[in-house]
């Protein structure tokens, strides 16, 4: 993943969805998939649901990610259900832990990846405004995404400086506090300074007086959004109804 979370520029999307739809799907995923049941209705419902991120990733042209996702999920699912018995106890523990991760957490993570890699920051901000989330949350949120790449740049540069001055991992054991200090302090100072500059530039351009911000982005619900939301809601209801609640 590039250090930029969330998209920054328009790439041609064959299948664009409103950010709120993606959020809703992620929510449903997180409820249904993280649950651990594999019997009864879950047996076929979950794999069916898990196809969704795969298809979405394909539509978002993330072919490599889609392929990785599909293979990991299938391997985990099959191993967990059918192959565990053939292993010794110790191996069973380790392997089952891994497959649990692959089955329960990974689909949600992939759904999240889909959201992050196909949504522009400005679209997401607008979606939040439409959801009436207060500015107190929106401003920090957009600052966060603006900062991720910057943070990796700063960290890299400081890391280079550290290596050049001989402050490496080997010294860590002689003086752990020092190395921690050297890693974190210049980083934080740098980030604070950047934050000050950023604030000045944003404030002189009118940020934050409580007035409603407009946006040049366009988002909205189309039939594909409604269709998808209906589908996942149906899945959720079926799941809850037939498996007797969450565990």
């Amino acid at each position: 993943m590039k250090p930029e979370l969330l998209l920054s520029v328009d790439t041609k999307q064959r299948f664009s969805l409103d950010p709120r739809t993606k959020l809703y799907m992620l929510l449903i995923f997180s409820i249904v998939m993280i649950d651990g049941k594999t019997d009864g209705i879950s047996f076929w419902l979950k794999p069916a649901l898990s196809l969704l991120p795969f298809l979405l990733l394909l539509s978002g042209r993330r072919r490599k990610a889609a392929a990785i996702y599909l293979s990991v999920f299938c391997v985990s699912w099959i191993t967990n259900l059918f192959l565990l018995d053939y292993l010794g106890t110790a191996a069973k523990i380790i392997v089952s832990l891994l497959t649990q991760l692959g089955m329960r957490w990974f689909p949600g993570a992939m759904m999240g990846y889909y959201l992050l890699s196909t949504t522009k920051v400005s679209e997401f901000v607008l979606a939040m405004q439409r959801m009436h989330i207060p500015e107190a949350f929106i401003i920090p949120f957009s600052v966060m995404f603006r900062f991720f790449p910057t943070i990796s740049e700063e960290a890299e540069s400081i890391g280079n400086a550290m290596r050049m001055r001989g402050i490496t991992g080997k010294k860590f054991f002689k003086n752990p506090q020092a190395v921690l200090e050297y890693r974190i302090v210049p980083f934080m100072m740098s980030v604070v300074t950047i934050g000050n500059d950023l604030s000045a530039a944003a404030l002189t351009r009118g940020l934050g007086n409580g007035k409603k911000r407009t946006s040049i982005c366009k988002i909205g619900f189309h039939w594909k959004d409604l269709a998808l939301m209906l589908v996942v809601t149906a899945v959720l209801l079926v799941f809850l109804f037939f498996s007797g609640g969450l565990k």
Partner: protein, 499 residues
């Protein structure tokens, strides 16, 4: 119109840095005013009074009246001023709020609550006026410094303020980008806007500015129409601590390139995977098969931004994870990883390489000597030679830019490494400080070290370089000491006129 009546200000920090005293000033509509002076004279403070950052963002004691377009700055919020005064700052990297160019240009307008249709039409106007159509819809992280600065200008321009206030906007830019910045200013002047610009690099403003204000110690010492200011000789300017107005004259430069030992560089290569539009291509950022440098010289690494100078410097020091190629010196060959042991880089952003809580500790860190007493003695000697002994116990981050840089140089000396690389050591420095840096570099060279200086600063080059490597598109176009051909080439590259 901007009016300042008997304005005095001191920052809360209390150390009277950058303060101003009893300023009376009127700037009329459509005027382009240049504020200049040595570091700490108060020119940045003055700009902050005009866009409201003082008193609404920077705290301190303020007296007097500031009236901008009929508005009393003290009584209104920054928000109210943002529609009237547009501000552009020094550092292109830290000004942008969004992650893509289109959103950034719309940012200010969106804050003002202007409706989408109007914003789009304004953006269209701005984009054609500033000629930045090719920069639309791109990631801000992928732009060069100059391009980012243009977007910053576009962003405030779209808000259609009456006044533009710029604080050293050209500090981090190369000559090409400065030309483009100049075009933006020209455009704004043609639109009848009022422009106030605080600067060190004065040359590019000589045919745009109407008036020049020279400041010292918080006062306006001289207030001249541009024609009078241009009459000042280079000597006069230097005594005022200002940078030159004319292109540097290299015709009298001579180099002592009689070095008997050489440094050989082979197969420096670096490539970045350039994922643009889904197709991944490897773009060669650096491609130097062969290069010879006389040992002990002060090498100026010159070229446009993006040409590969920084990649060259990073590769030289072995800082790239995938650095390739080798360097041989004094009979030994150094591969990438080993180069870090003999090279030291003083980075452009000095803040990234100061780690400790006192200048003395910072130098001791580089000395890495088990014998503490000996180490302290050596550190003292080094601090003496760089005039930073008085800051012995001070925290490096509390020092000024120039002082921090001297601390970084001290660490470089303390490291004892033979090759020291400087990345833009004089960007944003006034004349006096540039001379000091040049002096330090000359002294380092006299210790027998080989110095590489990545720079855009022609005055610095004239002061201390005696060998050059000109890089373009990742390749070395030419490398040589001072001779007729190189002088001509450098003259042409750094020429101010002929825009």
């Amino acid at each position: 119109m901007i009016e300042l009546k008997n304005v005095s200000f001191q920052y809360e920090q209390g150390n009277s840095k950058g303060k101003i005293e009893n300023i009376d000033l009127t700037i009329h509509d459509g005027e382009v005013v240049l504020l200049c002076g040595e570091s700490g004279c108060g020119k940045t403070t003055l700009t902050r009074l005009m866009n409201g950052l003082i008193p609404h963002y920077y705290e301190g004691t303020l007296t007097g009246q500031m009236i901008v377009e009929g508005i009393d700055v003290k009584n209104v919020s920054l928000y109210a001023l943002s529609g009237v005064v547009g501000s552009v700052f020094q550092n292109p990297r830290t000004q942008f709020f969004t992650v893509d160019t289109t959103s950034e240009i719309a940012f200010g307008c969106e804050n003002l609550g202007i409706d989408a249709e109007e914003i789009n039409s304004r953006m269209e106007k701005t984009v054609s006026a500033l000629k930045i159509r090719d920069l639309l819809n791109r990631s801000l992280f992928a732009l060069s410094g100059g391009e980012k600065q243009k977007i910053a200008c576009a962003s405030v321009s779209a808000m259609e303020p009456k006044i533009f206030v710029l604080d050293e906007p050209s500090s981090n830019l190369d000559i090409e980008s400065i030309r483009e910045l100049k075009n933006v200013l020209r455009e704004w002047k043609a639109q009848g806007k009022t422009i106030v610009i605080a600067e060190h690099r004065l040359y590019y403003l000589m045919d745009i500015a109407d008036r020049v204000l020279y400041m010292t110690d918080g006062h306006i010492k001289e207030n001249l129409p541009i024609a009078d200011f241009r009459k000042k000789t280079t000597d006069e300017l230097q005594s005022l601590g200002l940078r030159a107005l004319q292109s540097e004259d290299f015709s009298r430069m001579k180099g002592a390139v009689g070095a008997t030992r050489q440094l050989y560089i082979r197969d420096f290569e670096a490539a970045y995977k350039n994922a643009s539009g889904g197709r991944k291509q490897k773009q060669k950022v650096l491609d130097i098969p062969d290069l010879m440098i006389p040992q002990g010289s002060v090498v100026g690494v010159v070229g446009n931004n993006g040409a590969g100078k920084t990649s060259f410097a990073n590769n030289l020091c072995g800082l790239f994870q995938t650095a390739k190629g080798c360097m041989s010196m004094e009979g030994k060959t150094y591969m990438a990883g080993q180069r870090m042991k003999i090279c030291y880089m003083v980075m452009q952003d000095v803040n990234h390489q100061l780690f400790t809580e006192s200048v003395l500790d910072e130098i001791l860190l580089s000395l890495d000597n088990a014998d503490e007493e000996k180490a302290i003695l050596e550190a003292e000697k080094i601090m003496e030679s760089l005039h930073i002994s008085e800051f012995r116990e001070a925290h490096p981050m509390s020092l000024s830019g120039g002082q921090k840089q001297r601390v970084a140089i001290a660490s470089a000396v303390a490291s004892g490494k033979q090759i020291i690389v400087f990345d833009e050591p004089t960007s944003g420095l006034d004349y006096r400080h540039m001379k000091e840096v040049a002096e330090n570099l000359r002294e380092l060279s006299s210790l027998g070290k080989t110095l590489f200086i990545v720079t855009h600063d022609p005055e610095l080059i004239a002061e201390c370089c005696n060998y050059f490597v000109f890089i373009e598109k990742g390749k070395v176009l030419w490398s040589d000491g001072w001779n007729r051909i190189s002088r001509e080439r450098l003259q042409r590259f750094f020429a101010f006129e002929g825009d």
